[in-house]
């Protein structure tokens, strides 16, 4: 059994915000959570009037290590190509913040942490959290940095849900919002896939009702299967076919259940490398938060009502081959924003790379982001970048 990914959490690099018992985080479920640690990274420099901050919201299995070698995996940051001097998220011009989400396992408080009431890991006694709770935690961080208004909140997938939540709940604090490859609610299909992942974890005997740390075990097989199933939804059929086709690992079929096909081997690798950096209970809690997300529900079931009176500039982006969060979901957001005459741009980027396209180097995607950010920066009175 490999070492628990949570063992080395305290030694992870980066910043920490500690919320003590005197300032608990009030959660949607009614629980007041304390203490809470928020682990975050920053890139670039906050300007004197604190007007150049961009909050990056990471996706389900992402974390705060956006643009640097990951301390656990040793791999490049998940948006490394996007962040840096002269890049789309230009560290010469903007101050970038990314925090590990509430319920996560990269330093922010989650189910693997100690429950102060019992002295044992929270496990399933950790309160069920929502996208709103994640954003509430981020708000505390933004407050602690003395930032009144974020220049921009940006994120893809679950990160996009957080972007929408930010804009709807704290419109005065978000000048521009870029929700990418996401939707205003988890669809039945989204919930169905999430449930398959959770059931894979729960069915693993090593899960022990969520108390695996007490048994010195980890439900690695279940978590790996969850990741494998989810990973398929992040790709597209053409992308899978182009990458693997029906290519075999060896020269011939083995007439057994080893990974005969390259795609099987690839998925197994995705599963086994994932369990080294992710906590199974975090996976349960975070996918649940996505399931519960429904922006219209708090506004009489009418999405447009959520956006009424909003001044935030929106840039909605979807990808043609994304079937997990298809363009029609983005279009529903655009229609709602139009119906309240909000300031919105909407681009569907042509890509055959599926949902994961938002993590990849898609020139059209990056050009759209740069143009939108430059336009927003001008309206915010921030210096424009060098002409690209």
């Amino acid at each position: 059994m490999s070492a628990s990914p949570t063992l080395g959490r305290l030694s992870l690099p980066g910043h920490r915000l500690e919320l003590g018992a005197e300032a608990p985080l009030q959660l949607d479920c009614g629980h007041a959570l304390a203490p809470v640690t928020i682990a975050y990274q920053t890139y670039g420099r906050l300007n004197d009037d604190k007007s150049n901050a961009i909050l990056i919201c990471h996706a389900l299995t992402g974390d705060q290590f956006v643009a640097e070698t990951h301390p656990v995996t040793g791999k490049p940051g998940w948006w490394e190509e996007m962040v840096g001097p002269g890049c789309v998220l230009d560290t010469d011009r903007y101050f970038l913040i990314c925090a590990n989400v509430l319920g996560g396992c990269m330093g922010t408080t989650g189910p693997a942490d100690e429950n102060p009431a019992t002295g044992k890991p929270w496990g399933l006694s950790f309160p069920v959290i929502t996208i709103g709770d994640m954003v509430r935690a981020q708000l505390r961080l933004v407050d602690s940095l003395g930032i009144d208004q974020l220049f921009c909140v940006i994120g893809g997938s679950m990160g996009g849900m957080q972007v929408l939540e930010w804009a709807v709940r704290y419109p005065q604090r978000v000048f521009a919002a870029i929700p990418i490859a996401c939707s205003a609610r988890h669809s039945a299909q989204n919930i169905a896939f999430a449930e398959v992942g959770r059931q894979a974890i729960i069915a693993d005997p090593d899960w022990h009702g969520g108390d695996y740390p007490l048994h010195d075990r980890r439900p690695e097989r279940g978590l790996a299967v969850a990741r494998m199933a989810a990973h398929i939804t992040y790709l597209s059929e053409p992308a899978l076919h182009r990458k693997f086709g029906r290519n075999l690992q060896g020269r011939t079929l083995t007439y057994g259940f080893n990974a005969d096909f390259q795609v099987e081997s690839y998925l197994r690798h995705q599963g086994s490398s994932f369990v080294e950096r992710f906590d199974a209970n975090s996976y349960l809690y975070i996918t649940r938060a996505m399931d519960y997300f429904d922006l219209a529900a708090d506004h009489g079931g009418v999405l447009a009502n959520a956006f009424r009176g909003i001044k935030t500039r929106f840039c909605i982006i979807s990808f043609t081959s994304d079937w997990l969060f298809p363009t029609k979901e983005s279009r529903a957001i655009v229609h709602a924003l139009n119906s309240v005459a909000a300031n919105v741009s909407f681009v569907e980027v042509a890509s055959d790379k599926g949902h994961d396209a938002f993590l990849l180097d898609e020139p059209e995607f990056h050009a759209t982001l740069s143009g939108f950010l430059d336009g927003a920066a001008e309206h915010r009175g921030l210096p424009r970048g060098k002409d690209r």
Binding site: V340, N343, V344, V347, G381, R384
Partner: protein, 215 residues
């Protein structure tokens, strides 16, 4: 703060050149107002209005290539279809709703026009005039569908499915209780302009620009 020269327009002059009918449209817009440009293409007019008339502009464009170019230039543009997506916009949300050289390509021009004057206090519509003498000549003498400087497509691949004359358009406005505040007709290069209400406009104007108001 100064902006670098726009890649969408000629630079180096204080009054960059835009298409002549767009210039005419732009001249009808009051500075500092809210504008929705339907069928905005790459956003040339929106960009002009933003720079020189300090307009708070939004665009809608059918082609994704156009939308991408406009958004990448910092304009607020959504991909959408005038025939299906105008119903989403609230009543009275804009000062001007602009439709340049697009009305004749919509499936339901009358409905589009009604939406425009619901969404906007005023509407500006430009369209090719099918009553121009060259069009008439092509039909009368050659017996063929016209292909001209403003109507550049062959009949089999034209997007223009609802062509009309200036007189037809004026009649439609009348039947919908829409007031014509200004109407200008011009030739393709914009060199010759007439009051489109005049008797000869329907014969001599290759295109027309109407400034409309709800009654």
């Amino acid at each position: 703060m100064s902006r670098p020269p726009s890649p969408l327009m000629d630079d180096g002059t204080s009054r960059p050149t835009i298409r002549v009918d767009l210039q005419l449209v732009a001249d009808m817009v009051e500075p500092g107002c809210r504008v929705l440009d339907i069928g905005c293409g790459e956003g040339v007019l929106l960009d002009y209005l933003y720079r020189f008339k300090q307009v708070d502009g939004r665009g809608m464009e059918l082609s994704m290539a156009g939308v991408r170019a406009a958004v990448a230039h910092g304009l607020s543009v959504v991909q959408g279809d005038a025939d299906t997506d105008l119903k989403d916009y609230p009543t009275g949300a804009f000062d001007y709703v602009i439709l340049s050289q697009t009305l004749q390509a919509t499936r339901a021009p009358k409905t589009v026009l009604q939406h425009m004057l619901r969404i906007g206090r005023r509407a500006i519509v430009s369209f090719p005039n099918f009553g121009h003498w060259r069009v008439r000549k092509s039909l009368l003498f050659q017996g063929r569908m016209p292909v001209t400087e403003t109507l550049t497509f062959q009949w089999f691949d034209t997007p223009n499915i609802h062509l009309c004359t200036i007189r037809d358009f004026t009649d439609l406005c009348q039947s919908l209780d829409i007031s014509v505040e200004r109407a200008v007709s011009l030739n393709a290069r914009g060199m010759i302009r007439f009051d489109a209400g005049g008797a000869l406009a329907n014969l001599l104007g290759e295109q027309a620009v109407f400034l409309l108001r709800r009654d």
